[in-house]
Symmetry: C2
Subunit: 313 residues, 2 copies
């Protein structure tokens, strides 16, 4: 239990790929890449593993009474179908009640924070019930194996979180800048898809890093000010696990003590909206979080979009 | 102004297609189809008109101060790209502030009610600000011209609604049944897309009608009970404009007086999440709604999913 999150479960593809092996095959410098990304392994879904199937697996690992679930919120940018709403498919697979709301949110690296915010809002009036918040993406399905930037960073995975009502509401901050939409984009997808070209992920790593360095420190400071808290009052900063260079820069600019910055990108890669809940799930298992600890969560990236909140354990 | 919706704008594709002309070309019985659907014309987007471009056009027709907008919620099942979040693209196009939240909701025929609910929740704490709620879809892009069911019903369109805070919150009811997900689906889309087959819309009209008749009357009764209202206290029932046969059956089962049931499907066809706001926009123009009138809104379809609320003018 951290704040109003009572449990978190994850589901990863079976196939773990070592970046070392990719570098050997492609004749890329592993040392140079590792120095920048810090990522040693990523998870790659096989054709039978989709965002939806992983989402269902993660949800099935969470213990809850069906009658407690008021809403199912599914955060994804890897829909099984464009329609119907994928949350409806999940509702049926895990046999949730029919008198609930179920919808998908399209958000990427800031998606978990968006999901927590919406869940908190949905739970405003009823104190007993819960929101099942699922995040799942399979970016690796649309990466060109010769794209060094994307293929050494992105990873597939799903998480399910059970969100309860809390009496004291958490503060949230958001940032949206669509002028950078082309810096991280799935080309040839959606209305822009055709039978001529497969969807292909593109990231301008330099521009996304620039956005992160320019926007995130101020967003974090804005949130701390809103909550009237100082950096030393925060036990952990859990940033979106974009890559080593991103988190190193945020740590430096915000002058954060290293021990306050949780990192696990080396073992999971960048799983988009699931990086933050994967961190939280590990931190709970490792018993790193004690009662009344304050944890700052901050997601950022594709959109470009960013969001942050502070939860109290 | 109806309830907390202060204005609604719409944007339709340039091309209006008469069902009469489709029937002539395909040698289908216009009389037989019209008796069932009641739809005389649909709007079809050309390749340059996408859900996103129509959404932006609709949003630009709404008057608001940029500083008033706290959040942009975009309801669509016709994304321009699977990623980034399309609401970020809209934020940039209409130059909204950057310190806002912006996200897409994937919902279809129940999408406007979902959007109103989420907007109301987002506005819970701040009384001054507003949510820009945009709905847009282009189902006709993925319809086989020989598919009699889909090609004589679905239509493209977008609406933008400005949603204010209100002191007294409206009640909402929801229904989700993913077991009927295959009854209205975009095959070969999302993770199920390939370079071999184009996405293609499929609807089992009989099953969707059956769902509507089985579920919607009870959902409407549940909402009326929740609000402690009787049918005669509702000025208008604005159902999702699915087709004549659907609304006729709901009117009959619920024993509603014909004059209380607003219909405009004959002129617009089924524009998915935009049918209800298109109705409201017409009703405002025609001055059909007076202060304190209660209007019941009910969306249903793809998912399968349904949602309803009562707004007070």
């Amino acid at each position: 239990m951290i704040g109003n999150i009572s449990s978190i479960a994850l589901s990863l593809p079976k196939k773990k790929v070592l970046i070392k092996d990719i570098c050997l095959e492609k004749n890329w410098s592993y040392k140079k890449i590792l120095d920048k990304t810090g990522i040693k392994a990523v998870y790659k879904s096989n054709p039978n593993e989709t965002a939806l199937s992983m989402a269902i697996k993660a949800a099935k690992k969470i213990k809850f009474k069906k009658s407690e679930i008021d809403a199912l919120v599914y955060v994804t940018q890897s829909p099984e179908f464009l329609l119907p709403t994928n949350a409806c498919l999940i509702q049926n697979h895990i046999k949730l009640n029919k008198d609930i709301m179920a919808f998908d949110i399209n958000q990427g690296c800031s998606g978990y924070i968006y999901g927590l915010y919406v869940a908190q809002k949905l739970l405003n009036e009823k104190s007993k019930n819960k929101v099942l918040l699922i995040c799942s993406d399979t970016y690796t399905k649309n990466i060109n194996e010769n794209d060094k930037t994307c293929s050494t960073i992105f990873s597939d995975g799903a998480t399910a979180s059970l969100v309860n009502n809390i009496s004291k509401k958490n503060n949230f901050v958001f940032y949206t800048d669509g002028s950078g939409s082309k810096d991280l984009i799935l080309n040839n997808s959606g209305q822009n898809s055709s039978l001529k070209k497969s969807p292909e992920l593109f990231m301008d790593g330099r521009k996304v890093l620039f956005f992160t360095m320019n926007v995130i420190p101020n967003l974090v400071k804005k949130l701390l000010k809103k909550e009237n808290l100082k950096i030393n009052e925060i036990k952990y900063f859990v940033f979106h696990q974009a890559s080593k260079i991103v988190i190193d820069n945020l740590t430096r600019i915000l002058e954060l003590p290293q021990k306050k910055v949780y990192r696990n990108y080396s073992r999971y890669g960048n799983t988009v909206s699931s990086t933050i809940p994967i961190c939280l799930s590990e931190m709970i298992k490792k018993k790193l979080i004690n009662r009344n600890d304050k944890i700052l969560l901050c997601g950022f990236g594709v959109g470009l979009s960013a969001a942050a909140t502070i939860i109290k354990a």
